[in-house]
């Protein structure tokens, strides 16, 4: 898969969210080294960790938007909820049958969503959160 590196064009104007996003990309890159290895337990643990991290990040982002008085918070949260549900569904399928989807494909889905979401939805809250502290 083609890996994405965080750069300034991904900045949403908040140090904490930028760090969260940057680390998310870095972990996808790091974990992609393991997808070729046939170690299902190792892959499963990494997927679970990414899910935990994603849920933490999305929750933190929602708190930030609330604090900033972002008017589109409800719609943004609905997009987050749908993504978490998608990830849970993928994880369930992977747990039941590891051949149903490749780990590489899961990382690709996460990375694609992250890029699209940051550049689309997240950028819209940028003016609201820019003035807030971490």
């Amino acid at each position: 898969m083609e890996l994405v590196e965080w750069n300034d064009s991904f900045s949403v104007g908040n140090v904490l969210m930028d760090a969260h996003h940057r680390i998310f990309f870095e972990m996808i890159k790091e974990f992609s080294k393991y997808t070729g290895k046939n170690d299902q337990e190792s892959i499963k643990q990494r997927m679970e960790f990414l899910l935990e991290y994603a849920a933490m990040h999305l929750g933190a982002e929602e708190k930030l938007m609330l604090k900033a008085g972002y008017p589109e918070l409800d719609g943004h949260k609905a997009v987050h909820d749908a993504f978490v549900q998608e990830l849970l569904s993928i994880k369930e399928s992977f747990d039941k049958d590891p051949t149903s989807i490749t780990a590489d494909k899961i990382l690709q889905i996460m990375q694609d969503w992250l890029v699209t979401h940051i550049m689309g939805s997240d950028k819209r809250y940028m003016p609201y959160v820019q003035r807030l502290q971490v």
Binding site: I23, M27, R46, A60
Partner: protein, 104 residues
């Protein structure tokens, strides 16, 4: 990697040494969650002077700790990060997110 937890005067210190990477993510969480849940602990410090390697998952683990501790109103400080660890953390602007301290 070893993880050692010390508590004194409402301050918890997690002393890490060796490689801080994905392989210890469960042990790390098992070390900090009781501190986050412990009402007598008001502040958490991570002693990193003996950490000689950090991967991106370690940065993710620190962010998870930071968020859980924030929910419990407990500040997290990173102490004595070594050259390598310090450089890795600075890439993600950790000095603007965590309280970074150098002390014995």
């Amino acid at each position: 990697m070893s993880i050692n937890v010390q508590i004194s005067d409402h301050m918890a210190r997690i002393v890490m040494s060796g490689r801080f990477d994905f392989e210890i993510h469960r042990d790390f969480k098992n070390a900090y969650m009781p501190l986050v849940d412990n009402a007598t602990v008001r502040e958490i410090e991570l002693e990193l002077s003996k950490v000689d390697y950090l991967d991106s998952a370690a940065l993710g683990m620190l962010m998870l700790l930071n968020e859980r501790a924030k929910e419990a109103n407990k500040p997290v400080s990173l102490l004595n990060a070594s050259g390598v660890a310090s450089k890795v953390m600075e890439v993600a602007n950790f000095s603007r997110i965590f309280n970074i301290k150098s002390k014995c």
